[in-house]
């Protein structure tokens, strides 16, 4: 069977499962007794195994199978989780990740059997689990799982399991109402054939068949899980219908690849207790979508919200009180990023076309019907602006997908470096453009490693300095106006500015005289130069002198900036500032000489009309005094090599721009006005100076360059 069309889904879901596993195993390390976590890991490993098997990735399947076995035994209480086990599990996760990476690149899982890991996992089973089912075939293991889920009943038989469905008050009411209306409630348990490849599709057909006869009010697993194929060979549901048992059974049986159907009338009594139990200790995730979601089931491409681990839990609260019949979980569609890029390009084209239209009507002058046209253009403008915003929003994803791997990384670093440390993260739900999120992982990882390796002192030094033994690293993300700020902070030693100064002199980066006059901030900026590392010894983790310069250039390529705040002895914080959007900005169009330039509106503070007398010289540099602030003047024609216009004695138009807490005044010849501009790349054949951040196409088809005022200040 050709499964290639499911490859994307397989990859996405595998990654989700792996991340989930990683999180849960981290959790397990902290709370080895937590059975919820063990169950969750078991489930994730099991789904992963099933998916890998379906796709024909045997090695991946074998490894997950052995992991699953271990958890199966932990779950049964045969043995407990031990620290050594966690390491093996993490290594197994790494191996699985490798498989998935290979599959993503070549659609093949590679040839690494990871036999050492498999042996290690099996030896865990042998040493602690006595005569436990290491050698069981996969099928047998599966049956055992099913049996376990059947809450301790006989291991061999298929049976009606709808009795186990826990129903909430809302559903109870629905059942009662049905009986009052003369309808019947049925419990149905469906077994799918073991050979069935698309279980979810079969389940979907079962749901569809049933919906012709009545209403599915609850299912186990939930409709969402069934749709995502997060179930074994069986699922159960409670169903309200006016038809007879036989008709219902026949309807289910009519779906192919269904092995067996158990169906009987559903009595309310038995589950009152179960409902209580659920309130007490049932996991949020299981109780979450305990209502029918025929609509969700009807859309096979719909997937759980981007963060499936947390979303159902969050959704479960309001779900319980809402009337049944409405989808609870956000319905989402996975879209290829290329399609979105395409859409974005079209929106850009539209904006350019709109700008041309404005330019054209302005050139035509105000004709008789000028007003009507202008009105329509304004309307068009608001529509395109909204359209642009919507497309931007679609492209926004939470940074969670990149930062989620960091706790694990810090844990490993902590072991490797022999330092105790803890990572605290906030704002994982902060959203950024997808392309930025994809790129931001490496720089962040670099900075975290830096903090862990150079920032934090060894534990004994910390204690001697009166700090808590365990070092803290913080990763905070938040939105600030049109920027997203990601801050990596540690409570370590901070940067020793003097050491950097010495190093810079030693290396000949600066002369001793220069070093004398440099501020601390300027010294710290030296760290971002290529091949500048102050680490005394080169370690595996960081300190090879590549890193911060790479971080800086990466961030700058994303039109962002890095800033360092440092307090020697108390720690340092690295602040990354990234623009929310990359493609379209509001800009002020100006004229210098006879060339047009765009300046991002976000950086502009004010525009001043300055008479030539107001310009003073301070240290041979031109400045102006505006409302108590001395602001240096930059004459754009000089910077851009444009001959000056001969306008002696005339007032100057000065645009006051801001970078961080610094201001500067840019002298331009004319202002054109505010305009939405689409940022276009200039291609790799041209190395533009830093002060040009890109180009844009004006309404009349002319290309104008966009000035990066940050590079000018």
């Amino acid at each position: 069977m050709d499964t290639s069309q499911y490859l994307d889904i397989f990859l996405d879901e595998s990654k989700e499962h792996l991340q989930n596993l990683s999180d849960q195993i981290m959790d397990l390390e902290q709370n080895p007794e937590n059975m919820d976590t063990v169950n969750e890991i078991f489930r994730a490993a099991h789904s992963l195994k099933g998916m890998a098997g379906t796709m024909g990735y045997k090695r991946m399947q074998t490894l997950t199978h052995d992991m699953e076995n271990v958890f199966s035994e932990v779950r049964n209480g045969t043995f407990k989780v031990q620290p050594g086990m966690i390491d093996i599990l993490f290594r197994s996760l790494d191996a699985l990740e490798e498989y998935v990476d290979n599959i993503q690149q070549t659609t093949d899982e590679g040839t690494n059997d990871n036999q050492d890991l498999i042996d290690a996992l099996n030896s865990i089973l042998k040493n602690n689990g006595e005569i436990k089912p290491v050698e069981k075939t996969q099928g047998a293991a599966k049956q055992a799982d099913t049996a376990q889920q059947a809450a301790g009943e006989g291991a061999d038989g298929k049976q009606a399991k709808w009795g186990e469905i826990k129903i909430s008050d809302t559903e109870k009411m629905l059942v009662e109402k049905a009986y009052n209306e003369g309808l019947k409630a049925y419990g149905i348990t469906v077994y799918v054939e073991e050979a069935c490849v698309l279980k979810a599709a079969r389940a979907f057909l079962v749901f569809k068949a049933l919906e012709k006869l009545g209403e599915v009010i609850v299912s186990n697993p939930t409709a969402q899980d069934i749709e995502d194929e997060k179930f074994d060979l069986t699922f159960s549901l409670i169903f309200i219908s006016g038809n007879t048992v036989d008709e219902v059974r026949a309807a289910v049986k009519s779906v192919s690849e269904i092995e067996e159907v158990f169906c009987d009338t559903y009595e309310l009594k038995a589950d009152a207790a179960a409902g209580h139990q659920e309130a007490e200790h049932e996991k949020a995730e299981e109780s979450a979508p305990e209502q029918p979601k025929p609509a969700a089931a009807a859309a096979p491409t719909a997937t759980p919200a981007p963060a499936p681990a947390s979303a159902p839990a969050a959704a479960s609260r309001p779900a319980a009180s809402k009337p049944a019949g409405k989808p609870v979980v956000n319905r989402t569609v996975r879209v290829d990023i290329e399609k979105l890029d395409n859409l974005m390009n079209l929106v850009s084209e539209l904006i350019i076309a709109k700008n041309s239209l404005i330019a054209a009507t302005a050139a035509e002058g105000k004709g008789d019907n000028g007003n009507a046209v202008n009105e329509q253009i304004e309307y068009l403008e608001s529509v395109t602006t909204n359209l642009h915003e919507s497309v931007m929003k679609v492209r926004m994803v939470p940074i969670e997908s990149v930062v989620a791997k960091f706790p694990r990384m810090i844990r490993d670093l902590s072991k490797k470096l022999g330092k105790k440390m803890e990572l605290y993260m906030t704002g994982e739900d902060t959203e950024l453009d997808r392309t930025v999120v994809d790129e931001i992982g490496d720089p962040l990882m670099h900075m975290l490693r830096n903090s862990a390796d150079h920032g934090l002192e060894p534990n004994d030094v910390r204690v001697a300095n009166g700090k808590p033994e365990v070092g803290s690293i913080f990763l905070d993300a938040y939105q600030d106006g049109n920027n997203v700020v990601i801050e990596v902070r540690d409570d370590g030693a901070g940067i020793n500015v003097e050491a950097v100064r010495q190093k810079a002199i030693e290396r000949g980066t600066v002369t001793p005289e220069q070093a004398e006059t440099m501020t601390d901030k300027e010294i710290i900026d030296l760290l971002f130069l290529p091949s500048f590392s102050t680490a005394k010894k080169v370690s595996d983790v960081s300190g090879r002198g590549v890193g911060l310069d790479v971080v800086k250039s990466k961030i700058e390529s994303l039109s962002g900036e890095v800033e360092v705040k440092n307090k020697f002895g108390e720690g340092s914080s690295w602040i990354i500032r990234l623009p929310l959007t990359l493609a379209i900005i509001q800009a002020l169009m100006v004229v210098v000489g006879d060339e047009k330039y765009a300046i991002a509106l976000g950086s502009i503070q004010t525009i001043e009309d300055v008479s030539p007398e107001e310009i003073k010289l301070v240290q041979a540099k031109e400045v102006i005094h505006i409302r108590g602030t001395v602001i240096p003047i930059i004459r754009l024609n000089n910077v851009l090599d444009i001959p000056a216009r001969n306008e002696e004695g005339q007032n100057l138009t000065v645009i006051i721009v801001k970078k961080g807490d610094k201001l500067a005044g840019l002298v331009v010849d004319e202002l054109i006005g505010q305009q939405e501009v689409v940022i276009k790349s200039m291609g790799k054949y041209i190395k533009v100076p830093k002060m040009i951040s890109g180009a844009t196409i004006l309404g009349d088809g002319e290309v104008a360059l966009i000035l990066d005022t940050n590079a000018l200040i």
Binding site: S348, E595, M682, G683, Y685, I686, G701, E702, V703, L705
Partner: protein, 165 residues
Amino acid sequence: MDEVKVMDEQQRNESLNRHVELDTTQFIVAQLGGEQYGIDIKYISNIIRMSRITRVPKVSDYIVGVINVRGVVIPTISLRLKMGLPEDEITKKTRIIILTLEQHESIGVLVDEVKEVVTLDEEHIERVGYEKDDKERFLSGVGKTEGRLISLLDITSVLADVMES
């Protein structure tokens, strides 16, 4: 903007197929000063008339600026300056040849005039090895057709040089 689309993919393939057994290459012949240069047609995506060029400050002098070709911003170089010839004189015949070596990466090349398309088979091309520092290192050989000599440009090395500087 007047555009002269050279050939679409299909036509190109057809013409290539016709000559496939002869091992021939098609070149666009461009005039540059007193000499004629041939550019392999497979790199050429478009030839446009002179359009408004936006100067880019602080770049090598042979980069004349950027142009807008159907919504894409494309850097443009002066082949004259790159080849060490006197600066371009813009006339009615001036053309910009758009070269596309890889997807989404194009560059415009300013030439005095575009003459014609010639088909050369391998036996009419004289491959010459040029010294590394020679200004003729951008040539891959000389083609002979109807008694004329055409210097064949090695576009990849021209662009590699542009990328380096």
